[in-house]
Each structure stands twice: as structure tokens, then as C-alpha cells.
């Protein structure tokens, strides 16, 4: 079961995803996008996401693209090794931009 938590600090917000990022998250992602609207700096923490499928990657791209179109600064961090492998195959860094992936 997917859930998320937002922790805000002024213009910064950290959104932590918990659970698999897959087709079940489709509606929740629209809700997340709305919740992140007021913030300039968005940090997406994937530390508790053990699995991402192709639909989940699509949702993540949609989230980042929407936030970037609104000129927000976005970072993604704490990627689990299995998820990192999927991102690598799909070449997500090339698609979203290397600078988004926090070290």
C-alpha cells in the first residue's frame, strides 16, 4: 500500500514516498502534485520505495515535468539499489536531467 508524507520548511518541502510506485499510485500522484504547488524547492525521497515499474516511472516523470514547468527546483534522493537499476536501464538521468539526482 502506497503512502506519502510531506515535511515542509519555508519554501522547501520533502515528500517521502512509502511503498511500491506502480499503477495503483496514479490518482494519488495528482493529489501529490497539488500538495506540492505552494513550494519552490521540492525534494523527493525514495528511500522507502522498494519497487518501481514502468507506470511508476511514467508517474515520476509526470511529477517532475509538471514541477519543472512551474520553474520549481526538484531533487530525487535515497534511491534503493533495485530501483536504481531500473532507472539505469530506462536512462532516467538522461530524461530528467542528471542535476535532479541528489548524491
Amino acid at each position: 500500500m502506497f503512502s506519502y508524507e510531506c515535511v515542509q520548511d519555508g519554501q522547501n518541502v520533502t515528500v517521502s514516498f512509502k511503498g511500491d510506485l506502480d499503477i495503483e499510485v496514479t490518482e494519488t500522484m495528482e493529489e501529490i502534485i497539488k500538495k506540492l504547488q505552494p513550494f519552490q524547492y521540492v525534494h523527493i525521497n525514495l528511500g522507502e520505495v522498494p519497487f518501481v515499474d514502468s507506470t511508476g516511472i511514467g508517474l515520476l516523470i509526470h511529477l517532475v515535468d509538471t514541477l519543472k514547468q512551474e520553474n520549481k527546483d526538484v531533487t530525487i534522493s535515497h534511491i534503493q539499489p533495485d530501483v536504481e537499476e531500473v532507472f539505469k536501464i530506462i536512462q532516467l538521468k538522461e530524461i530528467l536531467g542528471e542535476e535532479i539526482f541528489a548524491r
Binding site: D53, S54, T55, I57, G58, I89, I90, Q91, I95
Partner: protein
């Protein structure tokens, strides 16, 4: 009186819902049949074997594979995964199939095919917020050279049947279809030899989960391929499917499971196409 009227409306709505359900079920079955037929033509090759299977996670799926016989006698093959599942993914799969067939008519290499498909599908995929990963390969049955390109799709597994080991061919890089409008794809080649087997697949296989949420993983798949590499591709296909079923112990699949297996028996081959009745 109002109660009776309300009851009657409820009965009418319920009977209408029932007929809508039946109609939907019938149409989904028809769609499933269409999809199964489109995924059922395999080239028949003297001196080599090729087989594929796609098992949708839901009633119909978004995974895709196809073969196209080129004028120069080569076989172009493609395997792919459309983002999403069920009916929406199946609709995009049909769109992808059309783009592959049309691109294969006018392009001379896998990289060119992927670039043409990317160009053709980009606008639609962007507006639908979707994408497709694809691996495309041209196999020359005379020289046994396999030339390939990838659009964000995993590399196939190359099995050396003589030495019973997996070999790592050069990786071809390229982003998925739908990410950029004018994408250029890298192309690599490998020379195949007798008893070599190429296992093209989608991530639904290695990511299949059991009730403990463990994944099937590459290791299990590789072990099966090495153990049975001397058998027919049809048998290997069945061993892989059975192993996944055994491993998942009835846990419903999260993703479609698709594989295409090419196995070389002798150095030079001739080809014809058959439409399987399976």
C-alpha cells in the same frame, strides 16, 4: 408508491448494469483474441528456432513483440513494454505495432527503425503521458550477425550453449520512445554461433513477486536458461513460465510477462514465416 417506483428504477438500472458488464466482458474477450492473434506469427527458420510468448497481468496486456522479414532476407524483431497495464496499454501496443511495421518498410537498421518510431509516436505518447521501451534487432541468417538498438529496454540475455555460460555483448544505449522528439539510437552488433541462444524479455519476468515479496530476479532466470539451453526453444519457454508460476505460488502478477527466444542450430539458415495456431 414512491417506494415501488424507486424499486423499479433500481431494478432497471441494475439490469442495465448487468448488460453493460456482459457487453464489456465480451468486448474485452474479443480484444484479447485480437491481441493474441497479432502476437502469434513466428518466422520458421531452417537451422534456427524462434518462439515467443506474452502473458498479460490483466485480461489484455501492454507488452509487445513482433517480427518483420526484410527484403534483404534479414529478420527484424522487436520486443517492448508499453507503460501501464490493461486496456489503455493494449491500445498503445497496437499503435506501437503499426509504427514498427511502417518504420520497418522504410528503414535499413534497428537504430533507424527506433528513431523513425520515436518520431512517429512522440506526439501521441506525450499527450497521453505515456512511453514505450523497445529493443529492436536485425538478424542476418546467412552471416548470423545480430545488430541491435535499444530504446530504454533491458538487454537480452546471450547464452553460449556450448560453454553453458552467459556472455555480455556490448550494451546499446538509447532512451525510451516518448521521451524526446528526435532521438538518435546507438547500434551494436554481435556474431552468433551454433548453440547460441538469445533471450529477449520484459521486466515482468525478473520482477515477478512471491508472497514474501521476493522477486524472481535474473539469477533464477539465468539458471533455468543454462540448465535447459540444450533443449528446444518451445521447451525452454515452458520451463521459464512454469518456474515463474512455481515461484510466485499464485500471487497475481503485477506486470505482463513476455519473452522471445532465438536459438541458432547451424551457421547458415533459410527462412519462411508461419502463423502459429497455438
Amino acid at each position: 408508491m414512491y417506494v415501488n417506483e424507486y424499486r423499479r428504477i433500481c431494478e432497471l438500472t441494475s439490469s442495465n448494469d448487468h448488460s453493460i458488464d456482459e457487453r464489456l466482458e465480451r468486448e474485452i474477450k474479443l480484444a484479447r483474441n485480437i491481441q493474441a492473434k497479432l502476437l502469434n506469427g513466428f518466422p520458421r527458420i531452417n537451422g534456427a528456432e524462434i518462439q515467443g510468448i506474452s502473458i498479460p497481468a490483466r485480461l489484455i496486456g501492454g507488452d509487445y513483440y513482433d517480427f518483420y522479414r526484410l527484403e534483404n532476407g534479414n529478420i527484424r524483431m522487436v520486443i517492448g513494454d508499453v507503460m501501464g497495464k490493461g486496456i489503455p496499454a493494449a491500445m498503445l501496443m497496437i499503435l506501437t505495432r503499426g509504427a514498427f511495421r511502417s518504420a520497418s518498410e522504410s528503414t535499413t537498421s534497428p537504430a533507424e527503425t527506433l528513431a523513425a518510431m520515436s518520431k512517429a509516436l512522440y506526439q501521441d505518447l506525450r499527450s497521453l503521458k505515456s512511453f514505450v521501451t523497445l529493443f529492436c534487432a536485425d538478424w542476418n541468417p546467412i552471416t548470423n550477425v545480430l545488430t541491435y538498438a535499444s530504446a530504454g529496454h533491458n538487454m537480452p540475455l546471450f547464452v553460449n550453449g556450448k560453454e553453458k555460460k552467459i556472455v555480455d555483448p556490448p550494451k546499446a544505449s538509447g532512451v525510451m520512445i516518448g521521451a524526446f522528439s528526435n532521438q538518435v539510437y546507438e547500434e551494436k552488433s554481435v556474431k552468433l554461433e551454433e548453440n547460441n541462444m538469445i533471450f529477449f524479455y520484459t521486466d515482468g519476468i525478473v520482477e515477478a513477486e512471491n508472497k514474501n515479496r521476493e522477486q524472481f530476479k535474473h539469477e533464477r532466470l539465468i539458471n533455468i536458461l543454462l540448465e535447459h539451453s540444450h533443449k528446444s526453444v518451445d521447451a525452454i519457454k515452458k520451463y521459464v513460465v512454469e518456474a515463474i508460476h512455481r515461484f510466485t505460488e499464485g500471487v497475481p502478477p503485477k506486470d505482463d510477462i513476455t519473452m522471445v527466444i532465438l536459438k541458432i542450430h547451424q551457421e547458415s539458415n533459410t527462412i519462411s514465416f508461419i502463423h502459429s495456431k497455438e
